[in-house]
Amino acid sequence: MTGLLTRRRFAQAMVALAAIGSTPLRALARNKEAFEAKMPDEALKALFGDKPMEATDAFEFKVPEIAEDGSIVPVTISTDMPGVKSISLLVDANPNPLSARFNFMPGAVTEFKTRIKMGESSDVRAVIETDDKLYVSTKNVKVTLGGCGG
């Protein structure tokens, strides 16, 4: 009898554990390897493995064409794509290309803005992660004054 009870307890504990595991936000630790990567492709691989990636214009990704001050480059991303799990920002020419990664409860946020630093003119990529695919939008930003030299 007691054996049965513990087995049930055990099963309950496993269900509880599974529930914690599927909570998408708290479970994610900061991906150190991706942030330390020197090349954009390395960073993407560390973040997403071999998930298929598709170039798209289906979401809005706003950066200035010419940034006078590379230390404050405004970025706006807005999307109404369903099931967006995360959005990552990469600056190809920065020493560590991965700048930021935002994780969302699906459907909670449709637009956000932030500001990033750029050492020199470069492509900037926004990568949207959904359950089964990655969508990437690339924009080129010309920087008049670099933001990393101080």
Partner: protein
């Protein structure tokens, strides 16, 4: 060094809250040098957590290439008057800070 807590402002439009948050922080990259040529150690916000009435809806992992005194603007769906939006951060030296906002408007 004293770092001030994040400042949060926001307003409701229908059931969507547009929130703006400014987090005072040096965001040192670790590659800059001071006037004597000594490297300035990296000091930057690593993780940001945003909650709506205590429930996490967005987290962010940042590298040092997010601008100094980071700005974060976002829209929260399904918000109403009296709801609390909070933003907290932790940096690479283990400091942390947080700020919150109670939305004004129809409950």
């Amino acid at each position: 060094m004293e770092i001030k807590p994040p400042k949060i402002r926001g307003r409701l439009k229908g059931d969507t809250a547009s929130v703006k948050c400014l987090m005072p922080h040096p965001m040192e990259t670790g590659v800059r040098k001071d006037l004597d040529g000594n490297p300035i150690p990296a000091h930057y916000i690593e993780t940001v957590t945003c909650t709506h009435n205590g429930e996490v809806f967005m987290t962010a992992d940042w590298g040092p290439s997010v601008s100094k005194d980071p700005y974060l603007g976002f829209e929260v769906k399904g918000a109403k008057g009296g709801d609390v939006i909070a933003v907290s951060w932790t940096d690479n030296l283990g400091n942390s800070s947080s700020g919150e906002l109670t939305l004004k408007g129809k409950k």
